[in-house]
Amino acid sequence: MKQVLKRLIGAIPVLIGVVLLIFLMLRVIPGNPVLTLLGEHYSDAAIERLTLSMGLDKPILVQFFNYVIGLFQGDLGTSYKYSRAVSEMIMDAFPYTLKLACMGVVFAWVVGLTSGIIAAIRQNRLLDRMFMGFALMGVSMPVFMTSLFLQYIFAFQLKWFPLTSTGSFISMILPAIALGWNSAGSIARMTRSSLIEVMQADYIDTAKAKGLFKAAVIMKHALKNSLLPVITMMALQLASMLSGAVITETVFAIPGIGRLATTAIGNRDMPVLQGTILFTTVIVILGNLLADLLYSALDPRIRKGN
């Protein structure tokens, strides 16, 4: 508990830094939100009026101060484009991203760990080569290609799944595989190499010499120790998936956080952009915290160190 609190307090300066950096960066990049909003027909008077009503006439420091005060009150601002509360827009989009990320993570973890373990046990045999080939494909193929490939084969040709996602379980399977395949590949490769390394340790030979079954040696002794680096990677992958999978969401027409952010960039909808980036930053910080907690749960040396 103390460790959790310590980490959460440590995240505060990170969040402040992120808020300041995002705010300044979004005001430095070219593209005037007022001109973007006004479209093709506009007058100087219209520009002036809209600039005033959006508060963009105020000095940047005042704008930042107002934004931070709003944050403390739980107000992420109002979208320039849609005149809606940013928090409301994020909460509309997040369930889709959450569902996609959770399914993607389950796929990545289950398939990655299983294939990594089997590949390590059957090192240099057919199954090893098959699973590592699968892992290599996942790691090498860009997500848009994986998405289109899965969509074309399993939705368009075989008609097993819907082409686009409505948020239902079945419609999320292909996007989740497309999103999770890359992570599954990384997990599989890391699990395999880590397990192979641990299997060569002396205490594994001792366990075998004690007459334990091979399965017990692997599950009870080797796997637990080999999973430490893998766990860190898995937790971080969960955070990155939750922060929005733009390409997967675009190909499968999922109205999640990634699409919300990319639309906001095009519209120079600064409040929405700031809100989504801040939101995903919090997710990544929590993901890191989760990784640390899992790490200490699995490794008694870390717990004792605390």
Binding site: I29, L35, S43, D44, R49, S83, Y152, A253, G266
Partner: protein
């Protein structure tokens, strides 16, 4: 293991069959038209957009509609009005409204709704359409003030429930056409007042007198339209419309081929896919609509010394093989234009066509006669074509082809990519050397084209043209006030000739043909008169 695989496959197959059955049932039960857009629906408030007309066109009505007649010309026809008169000086318009029109909440349409809507169009903060009413009396005092709740703009007078008058400050022959544009949808006063800032975003306040109602709408996902039980016109074939937002064009293409989309808009499809798939396997299901728009290459006389020289601008125009671009990159779906106004628009004249021909040798001769010599890299001069990354893949290919053609002719035209907002920012600041774009009619009048670009110095600068001939710009801004129609159109033709043929302020490229592909559920379809991607779903006929 084998058993397990077979079981998993069977389960997936069963699930897919159930999913498929669900989809088929839905289509049969409700005569639902399935539509997909690549871009999100951003608003239903026609005052706050200049391009997002999908909901406004279908949920609201206008005083007039524009239809294409058999000769291919756009004609203004009555919609919510039954009759109107125009005074001899062309400044006073008296209208009579239909007395049988109700909004979808059952309330009667009255002249108060019309006066309120038009006052709001001018006065609402952030209106993108206020310029349409700049000739209406009181415009200056009301524009952008937010003052539309208590009194109507002085130029609009309500006589009774079905009669009202609009008074202009100067004659404007194109005014009636403006009233037929999508921006001039008629809203219900009490609903807009109750909605406040939520109007345009909350489906609950989307109450119109059109054929459809907005039943649901989710950002980035889509919308559902249902029938308006109070609709005064002919009931549409499709009782409901399911609009999906599908940002990826490959996904959209697959959906159409799986009968999940009934009308495929080819605008955002790769032209190679259109040629290879749709022009072959679906040739009989293609509906072609000429786009009432001109694609052009703007040349900025203010940012680049060479481009300030009309000889250079003409040489650039002569170095571009527009017919090859149409044949190779647009699959032949377009025609070369030599002016500002596209064919079909009021003011288009054959007299201003045919002056510009592809003549690369002639272009080089022009440059050398004007004293230009090649530098060490083999170029006479250089300039930048700024590309907006929101452009379709076809448009981007056109820009690359133009750059290539010019480079081969000793003109170093390099392409610079910008995201949309940056591009717009630079263009409006008058900082872009050159760009390729299309202007499509908002309303059927030459003023909508010529005044947008050459109506004033600030407009020319905002389009990155750097055009400074104030005498011509004064003539452009006063042309709408010419009461005699023949005289007015003659003036527009003369201005077009001066600005394009003599000054080469922009290079006219082509007028595109907009292709739509129909599924087997649709037998006929009337595209929007200007060839927009948005159209009236009531004009879509169901196949038996």
């Amino acid at each position: 293991m084998k058993k397990l695989i077979v079981m998993v496959l069977c389960a997936l197959l069963a699930a897919s069959l159930f999913a498929g059955a669900g989809m088929a049932g839905e289509a049969d039960a409700g005569r639902t038209l399935n539509i997909a857009w690549t871009g999100d629906i951003e608003t239903y408030d026609a005052h706050m957009t200049t391009q997002d007309y999908c909901i406004p066109i279908n949920v609201f009505d206008r005083l007039f509609e524009i239809v294409i007649d058999e000769s291919g010309s756009a004609q203004l026809v009555n919609s919510l009005v039954t009759d109107y008169t125009v005074s001899e000086d062309g400044m006073t318009f008296d209208f009579t409204l239909r007395d049988d029109v109700k909004f979808s909440d059952g309330n009667q349409l009255t002249a108060d709704d019309v006066a309120y809507t038009f006052t709001r169009l001018v006065a609402v903060e952030g209106s993108q359409q206020e310029y349409l009413f700049e000739t209406v009396a009181g415009y200056e005092d009301y524009t952008g003030t937010g003052n539309f709740h208590d009194a109507y703009i002085p130029g609009i007078t309500v006589t009774d429930d079905t009669h009202f008058t609009i008074q202009l400050t100067t004659p404007y022959a194109g005014f009636l056409n403006i009233l037929g544009s999508p921006a001039c949808c008629i809203f219900e006063k009490s609903v807009v007042e109750a909605a406040g800032d939520a109007f345009g975003q909350d489906p609950a306040f989307c109450i119109g007198s059109g054929a459809y109602t907005l039943d649901s709408w989710t950002r980035d996902l889509g919308a559902t339209l249902g029938s308006n039980e109070y609709y005064w016109g002919e009931k549409p074939d499709f009782a409901s419309v399911n609009i999906q937002i599908i940002p990826d064009s490959d996904t959209l293409s697959m959906m159409f081929q799986m009968d999940q989309v009934d009308i495929l808009d080819c605008t955002n499809m790769d032209s190679a896919v259109v040629a290879a798939v749709y022009k072959t396997a679906y040739a009989e299901k293609i509906v072609a609509a000429p786009r009432l728009g001109t694609s052009y290459m703007a040349l900025n006389q203010a940012t680049n010394e060479a481009l300030a020289d009309p000889t250079v601008r003409k040489a650039i125009a002569m170095s571009i093989d527009r017919q090859t671009i149409i044949d190779q990159l647009l699959n032949g779906d377009g025609q070369v234009v030599d002016g500002i106004y596209p064919e079909g628009l009021v003011g288009y004249t054959e007299e201003n066509q045919g002056w510009l021909t592809y003549d690369p040798e002639g272009a080089v001769k022009l440059l050398e006669e004007a004293g230009y010599t090649k530098d060490d890299n083999g170029y006479y001069f250089s300039f930048v074509i700024d590309n907006d990354e929101n452009n379709s893949s076809t448009r981007q290919a056109v820009i690359m082809a133009i750059s290539d053609m010019l480079q081969k002719n000793g003109i170093n035209a390099t392409v610079n990519n910008n995201d949309h907002s940056s591009w717009l920012d630079k263009r409006k600041a008058g900082e872009i050397d050159s760009y390729v774009s299309t202007w499509t009619a908002d309303y059927n009048d030459p003023d909508n084209f010529i005044a947008t670009f050459w109506g004033s110095e600030s407009r020319a600068s905002g389009r990155s043209l750097g055009y400074t001939n104030t005498e011509i710009m004064d003539r452009v801004s006063s042309a709408p006030t010419i009461i005699d129609e023949a005289e007015r159109l003659a003036e527009y033709a003369a201005l077009e000739k001066k600005i394009i043929e003599e000054d080469v302020s922009w290079i006219p490229l082509y007028q595109e043909t907009h292709l739509f592909v129909l599924s087997n559920n649709v037998s006929d379809f009337i595209p929007h008169w200007a060839g927009y991607s948005d159209y009236a779903f009531a004009g879509v006929k169901a196949a038996n």
